[in-house]
Symmetry: D2
Subunit: 255 residues, 4 copies
């Protein structure tokens, strides 16, 4: 598969030195390891390498959803891959699922979920902050999944919307307990809810309300991820690690 005008590529030099950018004729990327001329890139096969002006070898990779999420523009905390992956499996997400998201934020979850539900499913996402939504829209467009998403500037707690048969609902707000009854209404019987709770206090309060509103199988969890430096004869875990992103809370709707 060859790289064409307007395509996004991931220039990969090292784990912490890589750049996601759109290829346009006549443009260049300036990096500390040297300039990369885009006219050199056009027509190349993905997975090829180029040499920068400073004689460094850089690989030109086809970006995946993971890259779009990790390189997304953001004004809010994103939901991290370790959490996104677990939310997907724990809620039973699959190709064709209909998802309601309250709190689009920078659309990291929206992007990943939209890529998975495919054209036979859909993600309906709501936010009230126009500035965040502008960024979210750009992130979705870049990653090429915007056709599977409908984004609304709307306070779903204030006014009802036309929605039904939602398989999975995701809540990413500061006060998730205030929208549980709304989520309950739009969700299919037996459908799953996932709540992003950065603090223990949100977790405790939302967990209690989940039970009261009509959810079972309530589970709170946290995921930790640690890289391993696998080098022959001196393999050990990485000294750098992220200590916390968020707690996750799950439930399933009962009649």
């Amino acid at each position: 598969m060859k790289i064409v005008e307007g395509a996004y590529v991931l220039f990969f030099y090292q784990a912490n030195k890589n750049w996601l950018t759109r290829i346009e004729k006549g443009k260049k990327l300036h990096t500390h390891i040297g300039i990369i001329d885009f006219d050199q890139i056009l027509g190349l096969e993905y997975g090829s390498s180029v040499i920068t002006a400073k004689q460094k070898k850089v690989y030109v990779m086809k970006p995946t959803i993971y890259d779009f999420v990790m390189k997304s523009d953001r004004k809010t905390q994103i939901v991290y891959p370790k959490d996104l992956g677990y939310i997907a499996i724990r809620t039973g997400l699959k190709s064709g699922s209909n998802v309601l998201e309250i709190g689009t934020g920078s659309a990291s979850l929206t992007t990943f979920f939209a890529s998975l539900v495919g054209s036979s499913g859909h993600v309906f996402t709501y936010d009230v902050n126009e500035q965040f939504m502008e960024i979210a829209r750009k992130n979705l467009k870049k990653s090429g999944v915007e056709k599977n998403v409908s984004m609304f500037k709307h306070d779903i707690t204030k006014e009802e919307v036309e929605l039904s048969d939602i398989d999975i609902a995701i809540i990413d707000l500061g006060d998730p307990w205030n929208v549980l009854h709304i989520v309950y209404k739009y969700l299919k019987n037996s459908g799953s809810v996932a709540v992003i709770c950065p603090t223990m206090n949100q977790l405790e309060k939302t967990s209690k309300h989940l039970n009261e509103v009509g959810f079972i199988d309530i589970e709170s969890t946290e995921l930790m991820i640690r890289n391993i430096e696998a080098r022959e004869g001196k393999t050990r875990p990485s000294m750098r690690m992220i200590g916390h992103t968020t707690y996750l809370l799950f439930g399933r709707k009962i009649v």
Copy 2:
């Protein structure tokens, strides 16, 4: 949505007391919290509750892929949800992806990935153990995703197969280093590979070979998951935790 003859349901009493079973007219489920009569279940809405013969309330939920994975029959170690979710996002899996899996095992990964790639994608999975494949076939059928899967009893290291344009390859074998050059051949340029490595030694050896065969962005990682017992005024992590399932190793193919 109503429960019909032949449907699978999850009878949910508590986090560690729930049963995944197929509803057949005239049958019953015997549990230590009482007998459940299936004739009572037919025609109910998912998310309803029934009372067992011992007067316990049990919810009748629609099982998700998560449930099918967790309740799968197995003769081998399964890949756990925390790892499945991360493999999906880290490899860039999406609706429509073509996946090659070497080592079907009990088909937990096969099931999850098949549910996500949908009918526009496909999972090609290879194993050599007929006994495992029998179980894998049953697990796939139960979860309703078998149409997105082609399973082969074939030693891919011994004889070539007809495969191309694979977006993602997954290796779940004791000696993953021996199949890296094969995976390389079928994988698209810039495509992703993920390797299941339960031991540090497999991780070290496979990581080295990945680099030699022609992969970059090689990352080794491990995920830890811990439940939180969120109870008002006495919230704390669970005292029980699984210490290790497997390490995960990732790479991307270069030309």
Copy 3:
């Protein structure tokens, strides 16, 4: 060093199969790996092995404070070694320190700290539950450190005691915030306090009060310990792990 009448020994067969017991002439230990006759043991060097009636080889080790803590009788949750060790170093405990403990419990912390302060230091420990104190007394006696400990049945929140120049105070109660002002009074200027907080809620509340009462360098932390199964060619972390014991909270007294 030879084993004499009345000595404690650790019979070590395997990591999870070992027994701490007192050697008395004419007695025997009955285990599922066979009977051990104590008359065989008397006069042996520590570190020797004996053969049980079922032909299993068992090592006769000299128990350390670690063994006395792990094998202590208990009616309460003990403080675990990973936490004990960190409390010792984080509070600056050393040979000669004077320690105040509120909440003796089963005396696991008392035992370890008493073994470290030596005869030039002392541990003053308070509890109100006679039943727990009875057990604590036995545990201290067994481990041979009781001379470095003074234990009182006394509610220190109700009535003052004669104490001064305390270097380190440890609180292990359900409502630690209620004794912070008392601990403050007996503690040397610049002295350290450590609080055992099993729940997040205790941690949050105590942390706030610590600051108000007159402590700085307030730090909350948790330790996780995971065993590694180091076997040639197949080294990996243990699948079993304890997910949580307690949070720890530290501070230092200001004038």
Copy 4:
């Protein structure tokens, strides 16, 4: 207790902004939160506060062994507090113990252990790097525990030394397996050994040799520590965490 000429103090402003220094008449400490004049400090009670030239309040604390370890000069990786504490308890260290350390490094372990064994015990420590030993000597002197330590520049693998009745041996070398038979010789029967193994490969190899040389109760472990930000209504783990320091390996000598 008042601060006198020549005393060490910890100037504490915040968790990551504090300074360990020796008070000398007429000197000053220059920090980015303002200059602190030592003449102001002399005669103050520990735990008092002073105001810097930039009007910031700084507490003057009596440094503990923890502070001396964390602020030690170093040319080598130190052993961290979480590991030091666990080594102490797991080996059964107590007031009066005799300790052999092979590999002094920057003396973080030497310092902590010397503070615990007290004047009735002793730490014998060996290194071959004169440059490290110079730093180690300074660190020990600062912390005031040098009287409990004998440090030797000597390659214990090449020539025997006069040592006996060692309760606990600690190995902190790149090739620990090469000194196990030496450690075995000096150690009391039933005595404990602890080995610092930063990599999985060291752990695997040393574990195997420990067993062959004559040790039982061989345990490999790792400790993880995570801070909690306990703030009313928004308590959560810290986002920053150290992912790895070292694995620890333990054993006990058999006859």
